[in-house]
Amino acid sequence: MSKVRVLVGTRKGAFILTSDGKRKKWEVSGPHFPGWEIYHVKGSPVDPDRLYASQSSGWFGQVLQCSSDGGKTWAPGGNKFTYAGVPGTHMWYDGTPHPWEFKRVWHLEPSLTDAQTVYAGVEDAAIFRSTDGGANWEEMRGLREHGTGPQWQPGAGGMCLHTIILDPSNPQRMYIAISAAGAFRSDDGGKNWKPINKGLVSNMIPDPTAEVGHCVHHVAMHPDRPGVLFMQKHWDVMRSDDAGDNWREVSGNLPTDFGFAIDVHAHEPETVFVVPIKSDSEHFPLEGKLQVFRSRTGGNEWEPLTRGLPQSDCYVNVLRDAMSVDKLDTCGVYFGTTGGQVYVSPDGGDSWSAIVHDLPTVLSVEVQTLP
C-alpha cells in the first residue's frame, strides 16, 4: 500500500510526518536540527530516500544537510555558495545600488533524472547547482548576469530566489521566480535566461508593467502540462499557457487575490489551490477564517474549502513554499501555517484536518508519495 512522507521545514527545525494511504494516522519525527531555521526540505524524485535540507541560522549562517535514508540520519553537505565573478549590485529598498550578499538557501530542487544533482535558490537571488550530491556548489551565473540584475529589488522577506521548476518534458527548460524581480525561464539548461513577466501588472512599482521588478510569490506547474503555469503574485493570481511568455489574471471571484502559496492538483491539471490572505499589510486570512480556495477551471471560478479549517479567530499565514500535493488516487493537499499547524485534505480539498497543531512557524511543506 502506498504511503506519504511530509517534509516540513520550520523556524526551529525540520519534522517528518508519515502515514499510510488513508492519511488518517500520522507518525511525527523531529525536530531534526532543533533550533535552526529549516527553510526547505525536498526529496529526489529519482531516489526518494535522498533528501536535501536547507539549515540556516542568523548566528552560524548556511548549512546544507543530506540524507540517504529518508531522513532517519543526516550528514552535512557543502555550504560554500560563492557568487561567480564579481557579483556587482542590485537595487536596495531605497533604490540605491547594494552589493550582492549571500544570506541563505530558500529552496532546494532535486533533479528529475539524477539523485546527485540538485539546484538551490538563494538570497540574494541566484541559482546554484550541485552535481555531487550537495557537496560542491556552482552558481549558474547566466541568470544573475543576464542584464536586469541591477534592477532587482528585495521584497519584504529579502531578495530571494524561492521557486525552481524543472520541465519534465524538456530537460533544457527551467523556470525560477524571485521576489521582487519576477519570473525567468531558461531553454538551454540554465546557461541563458530571460524574464517572462509580460502581462503582470504591479501597481507598487514605478512602471506597473515593467519587464522586471514584480514581486512573484510562487509559481506552480502540473508535470503533464509543463507549458501551463499558475502564479500567486503579491497581488493577483495569474496563468500562462505559453510557458510564461504571456500571463493573464485568473483571480476571478477570489475574495482577495493577495497570498503566497499556490499548487496544482496531482491528477487534474485545471484544478488549482490558493490560500487568500487579506492584504500585504495584514498577513492573515480574511475575517479570521482560514479558507483554501479551489478552482476546477484553471482559474477565475473559485470555491472556498472550509470543512475542518478554523472559521473564527484564525490569524495565521501560509507561506509560499508551505503547500504541496501527494499523488495518491485521491489527491492529498497539504499546507502549513505560521501558527505551526500542518493540515491535510485526503480528498482533494473537500475536507481538512490538522496533522500537527503546535509546530514552530512552518516555512515549507513538501510531500513524497512512496510505494
Binding site: W36, W59, F60, V63, N79, T82
Partner: protein, 104 residues
C-alpha cells in the same frame, strides 16, 4: 625543525557542538604560533562541517553574531594573527566561541 605543537582547548556554542557532533570541549593540536587563525584552521580541518559557520568562507571574517573570549577577555576584535593568551596556548584555559545573546 618544525614548529612546536600545542594542545588547545576550544569550547563551541551549543548548535555548533551539535553540528560537529561533539560533547564538551574540543582539543586540537596546533603548531605554533597559536593564533585565532591557526586554531580555527585546525578546528575546520578536523570538523569541516564547521567551515563557514564561524567565519566567512571567502573573507575569513568572523561572523557578526559570534564572539571569541578567553581568560576573561574579549578577543573578537583582535587581529586573527595575534598570539592568543599564554594560558590558551598552554592548554590551561579554553578559547570560548560564543553566540551573541539575541533572537527568539
Amino acid at each position: 625543525m618544525s614548529n612546536p605543537v600545542a594542545t588547545i582547548r576550544v569550547l563551541l556554542p551549543y548548535h555548533l557542538r551539535n553540528l560537529a557532533r561533539v560533547d564538551g570541549e574540543v582539543t586540537l593540536q596546533v603548531a605554533a604560533p597559536v593564533t585565532l587563525c591557526t586554531v580555527l584552521d585546525a578546528l575546520e580541518a578536523r570538523y569541516p562541517m564547521l567551515c563557514g559557520t564561524i567565519r566567512d568562507h571567502d573573507t575569513q571574517k568572523r561572523r557578526p553574531f559570534l564572539r571569541f573570549f578567553a581568560c576573561e577577555e574579549d578577543l573578537s576584535h583582535d587581529s586573527p594573527d595575534a598570539p592568543l593568551p599564554d594560558p590558551v596556548a598552554a592548554g590551561k584555559e579554553p578559547l570560548l566561541i560564543i553566540g551573541a545573546i539575541a533572537g527568539g
